[in-house]
Symmetry: C2
Subunit: 396 residues, 2 copies
Amino acid sequence: MPLVFTNISEVYTPMQRITGAALAVKDSRVAWLGSGPNLPDLYRSWPQQDIGNRAVLPGLVDSHTHLVWAGSRVDEYRRRAKGSSYEEILSSGGGIYNTVTATQKASEDELYELARERAKIFLRGGVTTLELKSGYGLEAEHELKMLKVIRRLKETLPQRFVPTLLAHVIPHNWSRQSYLEMFSTELIPEVKRLGLAEAVDVFCDQGAFSLAETKRIFETALEHGLKIKVHAEQLKHSGASKLVAEMGGLSADHLEQSTLDDWQALAKSGTVGTALPGATVILKKPFPKLRAMWDAGVKVAVATDHNPGSSPLYSMFLAMQLAIALGGLSAEEALIAGSKHSAEALAKSDLGTLKPGAKADFIVIEGTDAMLPLYGWGYQPIHAVYIGGNKISAST
Amino acid sequence: MPLVFTNISEVYTPMQRITGAALAVKDSRVAWLGSGPNLPDLYRSWPQQDIGNRAVLPGLVDSHTHLVWAGSRVDEYRRRAKGSSYEEILSSGGGIYNTVTATQKASEDELYELARERAKIFLRGGVTTLELKSGYGLEAEHELKMLKVIRRLKETLPQRFVPTLLAHVIPHNWSRQSYLEMFSTELIPEVKRLGLAEAVDVFCDQGAFSLAETKRIFETALEHGLKIKVHAEQLKHSGASKLVAEMGGLSADHLEQSTLDDWQALAKSGTVGTALPGATVILKKPFPKLRAMWDAGVKVAVATDHNPGSSPLYSMFLAMQLAIALGGLSAEEALIAGSKHSAEALAKSDLGTLKPGAKADFIVIEGTDAMLPLYGWGYQPIHAVYIGGNKISAST
């Protein structure tokens, strides 16, 4: 049913700020958005819904999460707060491997229930689209199980979920050579055949995959028509961001150790550079130089990197606030980074932006100022969330 | 009615971790706390309440807030994110003065309603005690109005509120000399006479009060039997933390620019050193060296500094998480800093700790691990909040 939302105090599209706005929606997409008095006659006969002089923001897009996981790493969090490093814990067989064991043991149903509860928390925080990665299964059977959980989330929840196959670490009982062989010749083709992922991501870093291994996985992914993205320059500088840029990838994520050279490659190819402030702050790494990256022409995105180890972060607004306070973005830029740019990191040009033709995914703020959720730290004043023009209950 | 809470998966007192605990409460105070099987016979006949194998933490104590304010400083937040400094905005007559104008204009009723809504947000975040400062009234009439709002919050809400008279800045229409005279000879005696504050705080920094002025205000406060505390070493090093330590003050707060010399003075006098991570991060100041302060023997506390300008922070757990990630505290230390030490910063030895005789203010965590709310960033898994042994509804 076509509908016009009226009495919007202000909206960020996010590229533009419009005060006293109206928003017309048809077939779950934006038909028109502009200043209320300019609403064309065509839309004036449509049913109206009064937003109550509240502000509106685009639905947030979290373009990097590991939302499907089982087990607990609270003890590891405690240990790291006492000084153990992430790298030490990972190399001694803890960290990711801890979650792998629990996730392999968990059934598809159990993983679904756990991820569903987390997705609801993100919904209450204004996140209408989430990218979700596999990567805690490692064995083909369990990687496919994770991707099936993501498909089930897509089928049953109102949010939009974008699945990614992640090459995370080499399992302990495999040689590097044979795991890479299996991943490339069996897992990627099977995932493609079943339509279970849109992209392939590789954790290219110390303790994970080398640059050469990453390149081989990317080549296979591209051959199968899958997009590529990468965990790059987080713990050590590997050159993965330049590689993914040169291969036409969607995004290079983390970037704590990235340099001007990397940013120029990302800017040139239009590859999104994604900051993951949760992991940066929680692992006490240097904050990526977002101000300089933005000024170098990189499309900077912000995501939560939600995962049980390095980033148990449940709030996109908090991720964006950290990008402002520690990365030097303005509030307006952080908003673009958490909506439009993060949608581009998923190749979804009709998400994360409120323009004619785009999906009508938006947040109604509890207040007249659209920046209130970026202003209030540890408090998200969200009145309602709409996906495809439909109001979504947080108890869904 | 006496009551025994059973089936507590674990509790931090916060000085001690007890698993499989039981907690006996009588007359709103802790009668006994320990391992369930050790529950003395005396308490076994009392009515029991099953906590459902959930974890328990002491109610959090936020020992530094400016919760009573009117107006909006979202635009200033936006400007600062673009590069304007707090000091520039303050010296050009914005910042605090902006809130002063709005707070002077607001009625006692309006201020009460605004503060009440904020206090509820803190309650949902596990904060059972809040210190609240005046300081946006400046004129005696409006300072008293703010303190009366705090008294009304105390009388009407379940949380505990501790009122502080704050010498914040010199009003534009007063000479320094005559404002100090009025503050010391009129306002402090009147506040004491009406019983409207327990302590006097001074913002001793660039753009506010000098060290000599601070000393004079403290002397008057002490003469009137009021306790003293200070905003110290935030923007510039002033020596205020040593001053308040030498004068037997409760706490020195902020401490971004503090030195070993200051810490030794605080440690010697037992004066609490309070970190305010919201203001530090949002104003992009160097994070106080909490690890070194703690190791130098300072009783380190953490508080939100909730205020509309430099720290629109609504979550004690987030303040504690920033103290872990950026200040080097362990999770266990951060918990002590946000409960026991912050209660000591208010001279409330029966708050912020779960021991026989202390007030039975505690949080039931949604999960078996008491550290879950420090682990999950941007998400507070709180099942219930108890004050004086009574379960408090968040809609109160």
